[in-house]
């Protein structure tokens, strides 16, 4: 019931809320749990046995009262701030996902000299001390207001106000409330989940030092029927009384192993409740007299041995020092089995724990990082009389709950040890104890105690604590990296034109590249055939700006390229270009591209779109770590240049119309101007056609592209995308790294012996003569022409020899890497990696698919203009 006065609730701000469809009222400052308790609302039933359950705790350690609040699947009611209109549903152990999370969750970084975790007495003292020194301080506390357990002790509130005010006066102290430090990672990096209106914020803090003032969690006692509603933690009862002005019962039995519960007894008495203290210790403490003089009674050497009542506790069975039992009527059982210092963060940080006999609990031992535990978290607590289990009168153990959320009892622990398990980890896994939403915050140590008793051993070591300390929403960890912000979409300077033209895009690495440009009503196949035809017969244009570009400068640049590429570049004449290929150390194709020699000591290497960063890293790695003596500097200029490939027999007329000087021959380039803009124009062809690559500064890219389009209009210039590029190059048998190779293919496998220098060393060369790599029957790149010229082999189709029975496992001899319809050939064609492929030229292979088999003839991989006459127009 709600007390008529007191507490930190705002009685001028009444709030309406509902639980399971029943409407109640509470106040601002309530938690859902305190408001439920004020109205006697129970938690949901237990997950397996459907036993009635009540609220046990007042904080994150609550094992029972899990609720679904709207789309939020599982929240302890003790951590839900009451708001007007809040609609909660009690849960029986499982939540429900119903809708996306539209909340706004962002992240930020913070740095400080001292991070203080926990704003209770010890944390406040540490923060004030650090703040006074002028240090940069972050104080984080999970509650809406600072104070921690002081919020349950009205006689401290004046001090609390003073301290909070002083903290606010420090310019370099930042106080975060509703902020749970949930993870303590390497190198003093901590993560904080902060609840904010409409979402939350994830703080990443790099702290010089960390003060862990995380307090302690009280633990229950393990007696028969200890899960009956009305059985609560003594400290929580005190919190509800003093902070929320809610008295959970009128006739209370307080059962304790230590002094701390006497404060609860006294506060209950002051609130007008009847109180009987059952103190398990044989001798009465000094506080017993205080309780007696306040009107309560205290029995020493006495335990609660059982409970009765439906659904709430109506009586307990007390067992005295002489073993005699007595039934005592009550509607509240406040228990204290002792306190567990909250050592989670200390442990996450790599710190070790030590079992403290006087506390019957684990306390921080050595720290591995720059952190210190203070106050209750460091074991500054009342000594306890260790009591792990209270036998029932009938000897049964199946209602002695150690993990009520998992409906796990002492009987379950005994079943595990009976099965031969000795390790706490095995018992935990066998019984699921400690794996529920509360992660065993109240029951964990008790379980270890029960286990130690069962094994007749000392207390086993604790389990390791892993992040997060309390559950963290997926959405908070995901943050703003969603939708368009999920991963940068890199675009070229010409991107807006492609969009306006209705291009379909494909993702290549982080880049968005035009895939094809359908006209209204056109299918992809039709569009690509049209684009191909334009490039072969007229003029096409492609935005090739995504290719990686690296300038290499220095007298040894040629020598360096010689070592990196399979072919040689040192003697490449200035003003010319050469195609090159690179391997990894194990001899497999890594990347390819064209290298231009800009000057005696200056080269420009282009890379594939997806590998630009990897190639630069690769260059730098070899330069810096293996050959620091080579005088070469690498600079990425990928975005410096927009690259426009003008392709086709009419390309020269288009580029010529731009007023530019044209390069004299295939694989040469000139530095010139296009419409007054400095440009580098190269005769490079990835299609086999006459082609010009126009390079201008990125910020001129769009204007020059538009100029090319205007100049080409009379020739029917046709923009084309990556698909057409792939068809055109495949018709010429040019492989695409990553499509026709897969990390298991050497340049020799591609039939490119001509590109593998025999006169110089290069990275990966030695690997090419290993026994397997030099095998003659390796898979080799070949062409395939389907016997039915209209049949399109699926890319990824596997190949078998004719006559192979299709009973698995079927011996496969290769697979289709690229396959297209060709406008130029008027038929389908494909590239494939085929075992002993070059020995099979002219033979037929089969591609067995799920519904049919396609036959194809093995050919040279060059289908179009094998003499190479078209590249010169």
């Amino acid at each position: 019931m709600r007390l008529p006065a007191g507490g930190r609730i705002d009685r001028n701000a009444p709030l309406t809320f509902s639980v399971d469809g029943v409407t109640h009222t509470g106040y601002r400052g309530d938690t859902l749990a305190s408001a439920m308790l004020a109205h006697g609302v129970l938690a949901g039933p237990s997950i397996h046995f459907g036993r009635p359950r009540g609220i046990v705790a007042a904080g994150v350690e609550e094992p029972n009262a899990l609720v679904q609040v709207g789309p939020e699947p599982m929240l302890p009611a003790t951590t839900v701030e009451l708001t007007d209109g809040l609609d909660a549903r009690t849960l029986a152990g499982r939540g429900r996902l119903v809708a996306p999370n539209d909340g706004y969750y962002d992240k930020t970084h913070a740095h400080c000299d001292v991070l203080v975790v926990g704003g209770g007495r010890a944390g406040l003292a540490a923060a004030v001390e650090a703040g006074r020194s002028g240090a940069r301080v972050v104080l984080a506390d999970e509650q809406p207001e600072l104070g921690g357990s002081l919020l349950s002790a009205p006689d401290t509130w004046e001090w609390l106000d003073t301290v909070v005010a002083e903290l606010a006066s420090f310019p370099e102290t930042r106080v975060l409330t509703r902020a749970t430090v949930f993870g303590y990672y390497d190198h003093n990096y901590l993560s904080i989940a902060q609840r904010r209106p409409g979402g939350g914020r994830l703080w990443h803090v790099r702290a010089g030092r960390v003060v862990l003032a995380t307090g302690a969690h009280e633990r229950p006692l393990v007696f028969a029927g200890n899960d009956r509603p009305g059985v609560m933690l003594a400290g929580a009862v005190r919190t509800y009384l003093n902070r929320y002005a809610v008295r959970p019962g009128q006739r209370a039995v307080v059962c304790t192993t230590n002094d701390s519960a006497y404060a609860t007894a006294l506060d209950l008495l002051e609130s007008g409740a009847e109180v009987l203290v059952a103190d398990v210790r044989p001798e009465p403490p000094a506080l017993a007299g205080v309780v007696a003089s306040a009107g309560g009674s205290v029995r020493s050497g006495t335990v609660v041995a059982g409970t009765d009542g439906t659904p709430r506790v109506a009586s307990v069975l007390l067992r005295g020092p002489d073993g005699r039992t007595e039934t005592v009527h009550c509607d509240l059982v406040a228990v204290s089995g002792g306190w567990n210092p909250v050592v989670h963060l200390h442990s996450q940080a790599g710190g070790t724990l030590r079992y403290d006999e006087s506390l019957a609990a684990f306390v921080p031992d050595a720290s591995r990082q720059a952190c210190v535990s203070v106050g209750s978290a460091n074991g500054e607590l009342d000594p306890v009389h260790a009591l792990w289990t209270v036998p029932a009168e009938d000897g049964a153990w199946d209602t002695h709950f150690v993990d009520p959320q998992r409906d796990a009892t002492v009987a379950d622990v005994l079943r595990a040890t009976g099965a031969g398990m000795r390790s706490a980890e095995h018992v935990k896994r066998y019984t699921t104890i400690g794996t529920a939403h509360d992660q065993g915050k109240t029951g964990g140590v008790a379980t270890l105690g029960v286990l130690a008793e069962a094994l007749g051993a000392g207390t086993p070591g604790p389990t390791t604590f892993r992040p997060p300390y309390t559950p963290v929403p997926f959405a908070l960890l995901a943050g703003r990296d969603r939708g368009a912000l999920h991963d940068p979409a890199r675009v070229t300077p010409i991107h807006s034109w492609h969009v306006a033209r209705g291009a379909q895009f494909e993702n290549v690495g982080q880049w968005r590249r035009p895939w094809y440009y359908p006209l209204p009503g056109e299918t992809m196949t039709e569009a690509v055939l049209r684009e191909c035809r334009a490039a072969r017969e007229g003029v096409g244009v492609q935005d090739a700006s995504t290719l990686g570009k690296i300038e290499l400068v220095g007298p040894d640049a040629g020598e360096f390229l010689n070592r990196m590429y399979t072919n040689a570049f040192a003697k490449l004449p200035v003003g010319t270009a050469r195609y090159g290929m690179m391997c990894t150390a194990d001899g497999m194709v890594f990347d390819d591209g064209v290298v231009l020699r800009l000057a005696r000591d200056r080269y420009l290497a282009t890379t594939t779109t997806g590998n630009a960063a990897a190639v630069l890293d690769h260059f730098e790695e070899w330069l810096q770590t293996e050959w620091p003596d080579l005088r070469v500097y690498c600079t990425s200029v990928t975005e410096q240049w927009a690259t426009i490939a003008v392709v086709g027999p009419l390309s020269g007329r288009v580029v010529g119309a731009l007023g530019a000087e044209l390069p004299p021959s295939f694989m040469s380039f000139v530095d010139t101007t296009v419409r007054g803009v400095p440009a580098r124009i190269a005769r490079i062809s990835f299609s086999g056609e006459l082609a010009y690559e126009v390079n201008v500064a990125g910020w001129h890219g769009l204007a020059v592209w538009e100029a090319v389009m205007a100049a080409g209009e009379e020739f029917g210039i046709t923009p084309y995308g990556t698909e057409t590029m792939h068809v055109l190059r495949a018709e010429k048998g040019y492989p695409i790294v990553g499509q026709d190779t897969d990390g298991t293919v050497t340049p020799l496998d591609l039939g490119m012996d001509w590109i593998v220098s025999k006169r110089k060393s290069f990275v990966g060369r030695r690997s090419l003569r290993r026994p397997d790599t030099a095998r003659p029957d390796r898979k080799q790149l070949v062409g395939l022409l389907p016997v039915d010229p209209d049949a399109l082999l699926p890319e990824g189709a596997q190949l078998v020899a004719p006559g192979t029975p299709l009973d698995p496992p079927v011996p496969m001899i290769g697979h289709v890497t690229s396959s297209y319809r060709s406008a130029a050939l008027g038929r389908t064609f494909a590239l494939a990696l085929l075992r002993s492929g070059r020995d099979r030229l002219g033979q037929v292979v089969h591609a067995p698919l799920s519904d049919r088999t396609i036959e194809a003839t093995v050919t040279e991989p060059v289908f179009y203009d094998p003499e190479g006459t078209r590249r010169d127009g």
């Binding site: 740095h111 300038e551 220095g554 200029v637 419409r675 001129h700 020059v704």
Partner: protein
């Protein structure tokens, strides 16, 4: 002279937050050299050569920044400085664009995506760093104590970063 106006990677982008704006077309020249006749700034600092800002990028790498159109002059200047020595001068003006984030919210905005400590006792006017802002590599420099920061970002990443900034500045109007 060019008869085409250059177009920045963020042409057409407007920033809702008044304290974010683009400074397009700044001249930028990458300098690599083991030795140089003029004093160049040390790690994480900005210096100047002949009136141009020089940002330290690495132990033998600097970025020289000047007003739009200044790149040829900077290149000449740097080439003269290198002389016969081993060095590299590469015009990278169009490689990146520059965003200015200024004023009382600047630190909080940048902190959302940048893990470097921007506290004035640690990072001050005249400091620079190559780092990550959200998921984009950037060169970050503090220009004045207001504070004003310049974020130099690759052109291809600029639309992403603009979108990220629009989101990160949301709470500051």
């Amino acid at each position: 002279m060019t008869d085409e106006l250059p177009r920045s990677p963020l042409a057409g982008v407007t920033f809702a937050a008044p304290f974010v704006r683009e400074l397009p077309f700044l001249a930028m020249v990458d300098l690599r050299a083991a030795s140089f006749p003029h004093p160049l700034p040390g790690p994480n600092r900005v210096g100047s050569v002949e009136g141009r800002d020089v940002l330290w990028l690495g132990p033998d790498e600097w970025l020289v920044v000047g007003p739009p159109g200044d790149a040829p002059a900077i290149e000449t200047l740097l080439r003269q400085g290198i002389g016969d020595g081993h060095g590299s001068v590469v015009d990278v003006s169009a490689n990146r664009t520059t965003l200015s984030v200024a004023g009382p919210h600047a630190r909080d905005v940048l902190a959302k995506g940048c893990s470097i400590d921007l506290h004035p006792s640690v990072f001050a006017p005249g400091h620079c760093a190559q780092t990550l802002l959200a998921r984009a590599q950037v060169i970050l420099r503090q220009v004045d104590a207001e504070p004003t920061y310049h974020v130099l970002v690759r052109g291809s990443f600029a639309p992403y970063l603009a979108e990220w900034l629009a989101d990160a500045t949301r709470e500051f109007g």
